[in-house]
Amino acid sequence: MCLPAAFLALFFAYPLAAILARGLGDGLPWDVLGSRSTLGVLWFTAWQAAVSTAATVLLGLPLAWAIARLDFPGRSLVRALVLVPFVLPTVVVAAAFLALLPDGAERGLVAILAAHVFFNLAVVVRIVGSFWGRLDSGLWDAAATLGASPVQRLRRVTLPLLAPALAAAGTLVFLFCFTSFGVILLLGGPTYATLETEIYRSAARLFDLRAAAALSLLQLAAVGSLLALAALVERRLGGAVPLAGERDVVRRPRGRERLGLAAALTGAAVGLGLPLAALVERSLATPDGYGLGFYRALGEETAVLLVAPWHAVVNSVLYALAATAVALVVGGLAAAAIARRRAAWLDALVMLPLGASAVMLGFGFVIAFDEPPLDVRGSPWLVPVAQALVAAPFVVRIVAPALRSIDERLHEAAAVLGASPARIRRELDLPLVLRALGVAAGFAFAISLGEFGATVFVARSDWPTVPVAIFRFLGRPGALNAGQAAALAVVLMVLTAAAVLAADRIAVRRGAL
């Protein structure tokens, strides 16, 4: 419990407090907080996040079901590909969306909602799916034997059992949409604003720290109350459930299930596959016709970056590996503490970085760590640390429910048989949550690969990551730069899919009961 708390205190609470204190030197700015435009922004932020979350959960469930319960060719590939959109930088996806959406719907609410679903579907599919995939089929069989219709089985058995995972995934999606930044700016157009975009405008553009700090407080308060609510819900819903190994759960689709599977996969192919395909097409569409020109250019020096672009790929992988390790340690220990000791404050503290504005945290880093011995500005370690702040909440949300679902009687039995607490943790809990840890590791790695908002603040120019490099390319005129950005995005897609595929394979093999 001490390590995660210290980590968050040093790298999250302290810098954020420093920048808020600087901005709020003259007391709370009630004029900003109470103004009509602030309330309007808060209202839009909240309802667009709620609608986006509902749409994501609704559209994600069929795919989660298909991946969790059915055996079909390419299943593990689909499971890995689902995560790809999640790591893509918004700038790149926005370009693909603008090309695909029909005229008139290119910018505005529809585009915002579609992009939020596109980005966050993975959260629902994977978190709910990994939980669903461990539930013993006996319950459904029993219900069916007792004469329950499919609808009744869904309502009475499936949904109550899935509730903790649904709550966890819903919370994460809501947080992501609540603090949405790039999607709102690029696909919403100038009339749409969330708290996050307004904070960025005030802090980075207008240099109005007072307003930025006030809006940040508002955002933190909103996110904090939401988290408290979610923790309550999750704890009430969570509990021991009958678990089974994957081999006993997954089976070939029968009868109408085939239809459902086809529908789920077709939906995924259109909703997720099309934008990704558009991106691949862009990366191949050189001015001289289709070819690999943009990819070849990644190996050459460019005026846009201080290093050849392929360096960014290596940097990203190394940073993401380090960040995954940090996030697994911090998030895993926090999850253990939360599941066992019900440390609600730690739960909220781990989650809060997701609800904090990246630009304010970045500014906080800059002013908080400005004196020796704490002057770590410019240290390359800050990159994985910043990425781990964003990834750790996922580890907690995935691992904590898994830990809670372990039947307490197993612990008691082990203790009666003479196992020490450490041995129980190692030989009972760890194997049971390995699958969840694998999912968490895949997520953490993917998030770290794609993280942009915090990374751009701490990444050194001579060691850029892929998203930072993409951003720099898109910041310059010329078809070659736009093409190299698309090519880098495709590299990011492939990297993510490969990493997740590998993490899944390890987790499934080790975690099989």
Binding site: L186, V376, G475, G478, G483
Partner: protein, 342 residues
């Protein structure tokens, strides 16, 4: 178990791995558009004996704001990228320490904007209205401010918000220089009537909304950008072009001078001064056009061929005295917001 050990190691290194004060390192704090070619960077390191680290901290406005936030305890030794239009803000916050470089004697004196030499000019680049030539293949493209407000160009212009973007501010100042204190507001009213699109930054305006940018799906054929954007389109086209796909409306150009200075509280002021000298030297100045798409301030510096062919260097760009800008900037931006956005 192994993951825990690795994690602890990382935490330990992160906690105490701060860069030790390396007196032989100079840190240049600058904006995202800064670029320098590698041989030039190496030449500085070889001749001065310092290693150079570059820290890019956002677009020009954001980078300046971040520098102001850390005034006195800076993240580096030199800041490059404050322009004539935001200069008063930097000087007001006491961001820089004076340094009169001996290399200044070769610099065109019209770009030297501070008598106390707290800042030194490094490059100039004019902000001009650009047009997509393909969109004007069958009709004449606009050639003046006034024509942009004509009904036939309705819905075609995209500009940056002067409150959030440095080219946006330069364009507002250009209209003030052209129409005068009494006329600029009615001009902007006319632009608003004509459905001008205002976005927050140059990137969104140029790479997303402008139809003439390579690889863009924008639908606005007129944009506020730079005099050097057409040669940039040629150099980064990915193939040889006979003609630039975009063109500049020369009568709309407003002067933008980019300046650098030694940061107050710099760890390595000696290295900072050496870097400033180098940035005014021939080697760096020759590299400026091809790397950053702006023009050198050192007299007699040759331009690369693509610039000779495709760049418009306006003879007399619009200008306003820095003191006048400093005095009125915030009021003008406020009035502009009322006229255009409210």
């Amino acid at each position: 178990m192994r993951a825990i050990v690795i994690g602890l190691l990382i935490a330990a290194v992160a906690g105490c791995g701060g860069e030790q004060a390396a007196p032989r390192q100079v840190v240049l704090v600058t904006h995202d558009s800064f670029a320098v070619s590698k041989p030039v960077l190496r030449a500085f390191e070889r001749t001065s004996g310092f290693t150079l680290r570059i820290l890019q901290t956002g677009d020009a406005g954001a980078a300046l704001n971040r520098a102001l936030l850390t005034a006195g305890t800076p993240e580096g030794d030199v800041f490059f990228g404050v322009d004539n239009n935001l200069l008063s803000r930097a000087l007001g916050e006491d961001l820089f320490e004076p340094y009169e470089s001996p290399a200044l004697d070769r610099i065109d004196p019209q770009y030297v904007l501070d008598d106390e030499h707290r800042v030194t000019p490094v490059d100039h680049g004019e902000v001009c209205v650009n047009v997509d030539r393909a969109a004007f293949a069958t009709e004449p493209a606009p050639t003046s401010f006034e024509q942009l407000a004509l009904p036939r160009h309705r819905g075609r212009l995209v500009v940056e918000n002067p409150a959030t973007s440095t080219p946006g501010l330069a364009f507002l100042l250009a209209t003030i220089a052209h129409f005068g204190e009494d006329g600029w507001q009615s001009y902007w009213r006319a632009l608003r009537e004509n459905d001008v699109l205002v976005v927050d930054g140059w990137e969104e305006a140029y790479t997303q909304r402008f139809s003439g940018a390579g690889g863009s799906n924008g639908d606005r054929p007129i944009v506020v950008s730079y005099a050097s954007s057409p040669p940039a389109e040629v150099i980064f086209a990915g193939k040889a072009l006979e003609e630039a796909p975009t063109a500049v409306i020369a009568s709309t150009c407003f002067r933008q001078v980019e300046l650098a200075g030694v940061l107050r509280g710099a760890r390595n002021p000696e290295g900072a001064r050496a870097l400033l000298d180098f940035m005014l030297g021939e080697r760096f100045q020759r590299d400026v056009p091809a790397s950053m798409f702006v023009f050198p301030v050192r007299e007699g510096t040759p331009l690369p061929p693509a610039f000779e062919r495709f760049a418009v260097v306006p003879e007399r760009p619009l200008e306003l005295p820095p003191a006048e800008i400093g005095e009125n900037r915030d009021r003008w931006i406020g009035e502009w917001t009322d006229v255009v956005l409210r």
